[in-house]
Symmetry: C2
Subunit: 199 residues, 2 copies
Amino acid sequence: MTMQDAAAARPAGRPRSEKAEKAIVEATLDLIGEGMGISELSIEAIAARAGVGKTTIYRRWSNKEDLVVTALAALKAPVPPLAGESVRGDLVTMIDQMRTESGHVRTRCVMNIAMSESDRYPHLFDKFRQLAIEPRRAAMRAVLERGIANGELLPDLDPEMAMAMLSGTVIWYTKWGQAEHDAGLAERIVDQVLSGIAP
Amino acid sequence: MTMQDAAAARPAGRPRSEKAEKAIVEATLDLIGEGMGISELSIEAIAARAGVGKTTIYRRWSNKEDLVVTALAALKAPVPPLAGESVRGDLVTMIDQMRTESGHVRTRCVMNIAMSESDRYPHLFDKFRQLAIEPRRAAMRAVLERGIANGELLPDLDPEMAMAMLSGTVIWYTKWGQAEHDAGLAERIVDQVLSGIAP
């Protein structure tokens, strides 16, 4: 998700100052990434870190939760351009994006910390999912459904299961393995998920 | 992991009081599960919650990190008994254990919060992995290697990739799906990982 997308997700108010907005979002991510939980986070602390006044923040976001949604969504890149030539190729592109994202230490810290509070902020995380996760899921689902329709994938495949296999495997590697330095990982994952592990 | 196993992992000291030890471990898990991070956690707070004196804790654990390792390890059940009749059956047993564990709300909260601090406590998490994760990984690797040897699995299969596919898929469902109420999920995951998603 680009800053523009994240900004577009809130109701339009006064003319935007992209620079202030970026500073506020970065300050929010820095504070979370340094270990400040969402509950400890305050508009005061974010304003101080960003070097802006509190009113500058309140002009753009009516509350802390909305600002955190924008900040978390800003960590997620937009769906990458897909060649559309083969289902395999498009899946590799998507899985490789998930692999490379995990190499950003701050992103990993922020998402870990944020996820640890997801039970306490269900509304915040619903919004985050809608804004940042669902577009990716929809894009992957569309690729899988194309493969089911054109015979590249099994005709009775459950797309949710295929998504869990592809995304779950790469996330497992980003947690326990050396995913960020393994440029061929996405291809190996996709090929093994396609072919299965039994003869 | 049973309390006995967790206790056995520390050097033997004075005669154990299982009851006090259980109260201390439970107090530690409750405090973490309620949102107190490892850095905020104190031996004072744990002692107060457990209704024991600080010396009772220090008699068993020389520092907070060792106590947290025991507490986190206590959340993980031992490797389940495996029938050993088929690789498929044993994998279903293991994946189903991961599925049912995710239904415990406190376990999920504690692990989310603990993982959010894993970058700050690498030594603690190395110990936790050795004590609670590695025995499971070793058991699954053994089942996979049996299948590679006896022809139930592909002869050139990378066991690490197979583990990532199986564990990653079920963990994905526990995060984003309704895994705890879906009794047939483990079988569906194992069968789809075995057969793959392409014709």
